[in-house]
């Protein structure tokens, strides 16, 4: 049971700072959302009214401006998740685990988008939904399946600290695998058969500009959705902490249902902890 003085200190803390500490994930969300909407509108305008039709594929090639940015952002997100996990292992600060989790989660959604749009493009271009002999497709599927095990891995570990640690090790290892896989596929395809577009330097200027703007728009969408997710999780953690404090529970042993998502309540539950240690 809390003492009256401690409770009073807690209530003043609620007034002057959030129970989750100084971190405010919602800050800048509005500006980021507006920038995303503007960038997406500009990107779509460029794709359909500025970029010329490709000689071989014609209108079908417009999928390129959606599929490639999705794939680039998804892969970069996986690598970023690994970098954030390194930061988590270095500092043991659960905020980094939370960020790594959200970035990987979002990258998985983008990867699903990549696979679906890629299949649609393959059907229109080659007449098949999936071509197993294409190393780029198969290697992306392998990366997707690798990361599909991330959430079950987290869910399988009940202890929050161990869950965060193991998940970070996984994120680092898998994050290192992503660029290695990309390099290996590029090296192998160079020996197997020549490619039309090995890099954006082969694209005409208008197409390269459209691809660049589309990639920036997709990156902004990724950042906005990650920020939404972080804000929502942070708000729920704050609510949980507030509920515990109002109920006068034993805050050192918070009740936590089993979840794949990182635990946040143990950080922001008590004023003493929130004051002495950054929340989230």
């Amino acid at each position: 049971m809390e003492s009256p003085s401690r409770r009073a200190a807690g209530s003043s803390e609620i007034k002057h700072r959030s129970p989750g500490g100084a971190v405010m994930y919602g800050r800048g969300l509005q500006a980021l959302s507006i920038a995303t909407v503007v960038a997406m509108a500009v990107s779509l305008s460029l794709v359909f009214f500025y970029a010329p039709l490709e000689a071989e594929q014609g209108f079908l090639q417009k999928i390129f401006y959606l599929h490639v940015p999705l794939a680039i952002i998804a892969l970069c997100g996986f690598v970023l998740g690994g970098l954030l996990a390194i930061q988590h292992l270095r500092t043991r600060d659960p905020r980094w685990d939370m960020r790594s989790y959200v970035v990987i989660h979002m990258s998985l959604i983008f990867a699903v988008g990549t696979l679906i749009t890629g299949s649609i493009w393959a059907k229109g271009s080659w007449g098949h939904w999936w071509v197993w002999s294409e190393p780029t497709l198969v290697s992306f599927l392998i990366i997707f399946l690798l990361y599909a095990t991330y959430q079950p891995l987290r869910f399988a570990i009940e202890d929050p600290e161990r869950q965060a640690r193991y998940a970070s090790v996984f994120a680092i290892t898998a994050g290192a695998f992503v660029p290695l896989n990309y390099i290996a596929v590029n090296l192998s395809t160079a020996y197997l058969h020549p490619r039309v577009f090995t890099s954006t330097s082969n694209l005409p200027g208008s197409m390269a500009l459209t691809l660049l703007v589309s990639t920036v728009a997709m990156a902004l969408l990724f950042a906005t959705l990650c920020k939404y997710e972080l804000t929502a999780k942070h708000t729920r953690a704050q609510l949980r902490a507030l509920r515990q404090r109002l109920a006068g529970d034993d805050l050192d042993t918070p009740v936590r249902s089993r979840s794949a998502a990182p635990s946040l309540s143990h950080v922001s539950a008590t004023p003493a902890r929130a004051a002495g240690r950054p929340a989230l």
């Binding site: 699903v112 509920r243 109002l246």
Partner: protein, 66 residues
């Protein structure tokens, strides 16, 4: 107004590829829509929890009858 704008923009050569391009862009739209729907459900849950906490506070602040 919309008709005038549409008359000015260049015509898109949709023909056979149109359905594939439309399908790919609809996939992205649907994915974002599903995400927004999930976030809306979470937001309504947070709103409900906040309401419960507020009513709990109101109950505590009401003077107990003697």
């Amino acid at each position: 107004m919309a008709g005038a704008v549409l008359a000015e923009v260049p015509a898109l050569p949709l023909h056979t590829a149109g359905k594939y391009v439309a399908g790919a862009y609809i996939v992205l739209f649907v994915l974002v829509l599903i995400y927004v729907a999930i976030m809306a459900i979470r937001l309504s849950r947070i709103e409900r929890d906040l309401g419960e906490l507020l009513s709990e506070l109101d109950e505590r602040q009401e003077p107990t009858p003697r």
